[in-house]
């Protein structure tokens, strides 16, 4: 009798657990109710009310980044433009802009990446009206003099300078330049140094950039926090309603297929530990096609902290003290890159080989189902943990808004993760991790490292 009861109980327990799992899978990763409103001029408003009191996070996402810098000699302008947006508009001097943000107790900034420029402010909800009005003025009626423009180009050079002390920026620049030949992903968001130095002479081009891209059809306004759709929509219509739609779309060069493995070396002028970047041409973002999603899962499994490789190189053999993957969601095909810092120059060859073997391994081996499940769980919880304030929710949404202009793409992406099988991952890995699509860049202080690089051609 007792045994029977126990079995019934266990059965019930497992059913309950299964039901719970199903419920969990059905819950959306982006759990907030949101609204989308499109204005006739092409501007989109996304409003996400939350229970966090008092504050509103306002993110204005322009789907323009260094990717859009198609003319030779004109890299870095999306980022420069981000700076210019703080230098006054027709009805507000920079001092007046600052005073408004200051009275609102705002945390305010902006950033630029390959595919987007994001202007963000988090502030007290009662200041919403005044801040939207001011924002609209700089988006619709930006105004700066040639002198102010030239001064700001110097601040941009200052930004390049402060970044330049870090070897990672040198390694990353070289990687982009080597892996891409035609596409604008060839340069970093900061731009080529020679182009940055030429910026003071390009006032007219800067205005052209504004006319092309600071347009409603490129822009989505995102509000998250203590705000209602009615209020947000009324204000956005009032202040952004007259914004004129543009008519420019850039002709982006298509990157031809890579036909041979590439290598490059950065000789770093000061003492540092050797670094290594191993990249394969990867896919663009998609919430429909399996390629990017499958490789996202593989990235964590093959190279994440819990991977065999990480545990071997970082914890057991202790040859490497940093092992990171870079594989962003991008509009166009992006590199799948593993970055490592090696503790000893003598270990570079071996580390490189172990990484290459790992890439090969997953083109042949099937990933165990439990690892795949653990990784899906991780991605899900990571997203939940990251959304811990209105500002954090808006910040997490912004890249997806730049890509698809809707939060729903996050849910679609996670639904796609759910459908990926070990076979999918193996198939995708063998399509992308092809020697001819590979770029390896090394960085070291010693010229000895150069010899290591030159040998890489042999390693196919």
């Amino acid at each position: 009798m007792k045994t029977f009861l126990l079995i019934v109980f266990l059965l019930w327990l497992s059913m309950a657990a299964a039901a719970q799992t199903r419920a969990k899978q059905e819950q959306k990763v982006f759990p907030y109710a949101y609204t989308i409103d499109d204005l006739p001029n092409g501007l989109r408003l996304v409003t996400v009310p939350t229970d966090y009191p008092n504050l509103v996070a306002q993110y204005i996402v322009v789907s323009t980044g260094s990717r859009n810098e198609v003319e030779p000699g004109k890299s870095g302008y999306a980022h420069l433009f981000e700076h210019m947006m703080f230098r006054g508009s027709q009805n507000y001097t920079p001092e007046e802009q600052d005073a408004i943000l200051k009275r609102a107790g705002a945390s305010s900034n902006a950033y630029t990446s390959d595919d987007r420029t994001v202007y963000h402010e988090t502030f007290a909800k009662e200041d919403l009206d005044e801040i939207i009005k001011m924002e609209a003025d700089r988006f619709l009626r930006l105004k700066y003099s040639p002198d102010v423009y030239r001064t700001e180009t110097q601040a941009v050079l200052g930004e390049y300078n402060k970044n330049s002390a870090n070897p990672i920026s040198g390694l990353y620049e070289k990687l982009r330049e080597t892996a891409f030949g035609k596409h604008t992903y060839e340069h970093t968001t900061m731009g080529f140094l020679k182009d940055i130095k030429d910026m003071p002479n390009q006032y007219d081009y800067s205005l052209e950039f504004y006319r092309r891209y600071y347009r409603p059809e490129y822009t989505t306004i995102l509000f998250v926090g203590d705000v209602t759709r009615e209020r947000a929509l009324k204000l956005v219509k009032q202040y952004f309603g007259e914004w004129q739609r543009g008519n420019y779309s850039p002709k982006l060069p298509v990157e031809p297929e890579q036909k041979e493995p590439r290598t490059a070396h950065v000789e770093w002028p000061s003492p540092t530990l050797p670094r290594l970047a191993i990249a394969f041409r990867g896919p663009a973002y998609s919430d429909q096609e399996k390629d990017k999603a499958a490789l996202d899962l593989l990235a964590a499994i093959a190279f994440g902290e819990n991977s065999d490789l990480y545990q071997r190189l970082v914890l057991k053999e202790q040859k490497v003290d940093a092992l990171e993957i870079s594989f962003d969601n991008q509009i166009d095909p992006e590199l799948f890159t593993v970055f490592v810092r090696v503790k000893d120059l003598k270990g570079v060859d071996d580390v490189r080989d172990q990484i290459l073997v790992t890439f090969k391994r997953y083109t042949k081996e099937l990933i165990p189902q439990e690892k795949l499940d653990a990784t899906r769980s991780r991605l899900r919880y990571r997203t939940a943990l990251a959304m811990n304030s209105s500002d954090a929710i808006a910040n997490a949404l912004a890249p997806f808004i730049a890509l698809r202009r809707t939060p729903e793409t996050i849910n679609q992406l996670f639904a796609l993760y759910q459908r990926i099988t070990p076979e999918d991952i193996r198939a995708v890995a063998s399509r992308y991790f092809v020697d001819d699509h590979r770029t390896i860049v090394t960085l070291a202080h010693d010229s000895e490292a150069k010899r290591t690089v030159n040998k890489q051609g042999e390693h196919r």
């Binding site: 204005l39 001064t151 200052g158 000061s270 202790q318 811990n388």
Partner: protein
């Protein structure tokens, strides 16, 4: 065309309204030892649970010759195995939960922090508990963690982040021969010699119930704090004993140290000790003055507007009255860096080397002006308004609320937002200007610069010659007139107080 999509609310995450600040739960029934463990609880209805387990110990407790042992001990607990599980097993267990358990070591505080979804609270807490209470102290972890610390100082900081290098060296020279006198990670000479036994000794001596404050926030179950207290009662009882940390005594006069290394630009930090900490009478006045003069990473402040906005000298210029590490990576300060001693600091982000002396003079000129004239009334009102609202931004997340609550306990003040509002509402412009003139006055400014051709820079400083500046664009005549003053602004420093330090010698 108007299109409307409304998606139904999915209740995965429900959030609370206003978190409650509960002082302590000293009255709870526990064993005698347990009663002595302090708690700071910030419960709410969030699906996340945040931990901040704060030990009142840190780099100031590093014994002489063993600088770095406090940081190594914390890292061994947070990034090493427990007795039952090797570190790779811990990583494996945390992986599906997307959690981590991190440590931060400052002079007087060591905090272990992490956030988990409440779904995973039981397993996460089991890991955290064994990591802190049953550390594995394995040799392989020790080797890795010690090498990481050495490489961080030698490579990441000394040869990869000029700005943080200048700041940390500034602290080191201000606090020379003082308990704060070495980097929180240690000094290279001492680190090389540290052993696992040193770590064990440090753990035994300082990881005590008396030094611990348990901080929990979020949607944990009702009985959970009680369980944590009971578990941590296993720590040796210990005694909380810290003698008052004195203000550092500086040799009189200005001192400039120029760190030489191969780099494109010149990073600059300036500072001197102040006798004011959070909770002191003049803290809010000085906080307001620093925000006006150089609010962190904000274009809304005076220095930024003068140096970057008007002149395009660099990427930004800021001022501080509390330690704020990693400022280039974050917009708001990390909590749990409570200190009895602080400095007033000016951070000039890297400038083109030919403008280095001009930029330093500009910083000194503006600082002297602030000191002499105080701040104007209009700026006072608007900065006060800013800070009143900005405190909400600082404590946006439950983890930040918890961190600030722990700091408030340390400084003996009420909940941070309430404290700031109360203090600011009482302030007058006269209070602020008196505080500026009283506390921000020094003849003993310390300056650190990081640059390529250090000797040339040294000569340029000592020559007393004007450091002229040219711009790629015409400037208004007021700026040019002010430039004339700045270019020739006297640098009151003796020849022997301007020294060149090779980068290889920093943190040794």
């Amino acid at each position: 065309m108007m299109r409307k999509i409304v998606v139904a609310l999915v209740i995965l995450l429900t959030f609370a309204l206003v978190p409650v600040f509960l002082p302590a739960i000293d009255g709870q029934e526990e064993s005698k030892t347990a009663n002595k463990i302090e708690t700071v609880l910030v419960p709410d209805r969030s699906p996340l649970v945040s931990f901040r387990l704060l030990f009142l110990t840190g780099a100031a407790d590093d014994p002489k010759g063993k600088e770095g042992v406090a940081a190594l001990t914390a890292a061994m607990l947070a990034r090493g195995g427990s007795r039952a599980r090797s570190y790779d097993r811990i990583v494996e267990a945390m992986y599906p939960m997307a959690t981590s358990f991190d440590s931060q070591v400052d002079k007087e505080m060591t905090v272990f922090s992490g956030t988990t979804h409440v779904d995973n609270l039981e397993l996460y807490y089991a890991l955290v508990r064994e990591m802190l209470l049953d550390p594995g102290f394995r040799q392989e972890d020790f080797t890795r963690i010690k090498t990481d610390a050495i490489n961080f100082l030698k490579v990441s900081l000394r040869a990869g982040n000029d700005e943080e290098l200048a700041k940390e060296h500034l602290y080191n020279i201000i606090y020379a021969n003082h308990p704060y006198g070495h980097h929180n990670l240690g000094s290279l000479g001492a680190l090389e010699k540290l052993t696992l036994d040193d770590v064990r000794d440090f753990y035994r001596a300082h990881y005590t119930g008396a030094n611990l404050i348990i901080g929990l926030a979020g949607g944990y179950p009702a009985g959970f704090p009680k369980q944590v207290i009971a578990d941590f009662a296993r720590l040796a009882e210990g005694k909380r004993e810290r003698s008052k940390i004195a203000m550092p005594k500086l040799a009189p006069g200005m001192r400039i140290e120029i760190i030489e290394r191969e780099t494109r630009s010149t990073a600059i930090s300036l500072g001197f000790p102040i006798d004011v900490e959070r909770g002191d009478k003049d803290w809010a006045a000085l906080a307001l003055a620093a925000s006006y003069f150089g609010q962190h990473r904000s274009s809304n402040s005076y220095l930024f507007q003068k140096l970057r906005g008007e002149r395009g000298l660099n990427y930004g210029d800021y001022a501080y009255i509390e330690y704020f590490p990693r400022g280039m990576f974050q917009f708001t300060p990390a909590p749990n860096l409570g200190r009895e001693q602080q400095i007033f600091q000016i951070w000039i982000r890297p400038v083109e080397p030919q403008n280095a002396v001009f930029a330093m003079r500009a910083a000194l000129y503006e600082y002297d002006k602030l000191q002499r004239e105080g701040m104007p009334r209009e700026a006072f009102e608007i900065t006060r308004q800013f800070l009143l609202k900005y405190s909400n931004v600082l404590t946006q997340t439950q983890d930040a609320q918890l961190g600030y609550a722990l700091d408030s306990r340390y400084y003996g003040i009420p909940e941070f937002g309430a404290y700031l509002r109360e203090q600011l509402s009482k302030l007058t412009l006269e209070d602020v200007n008196r505080a500026i003139s009283q506390h921000l006055r020094t003849e003993n400014m310390r300056i650190v610069m990081v640059t390529k051709d250090a000797e040339a820079l040294r000569q340029a400083i000592l020559s007393g010659k004007p450091s002229s500046i040219t711009y790629p664009s015409p400037k208004p005549k007021e700026i040019l007139a002010e430039d004339k003053i700045i270019e020739a602004y006297p640098i009151k420093v003796k020849q022997e107080a301007v020294v060149v330090v090779p980068a290889e010698q920093v943190f040794n």
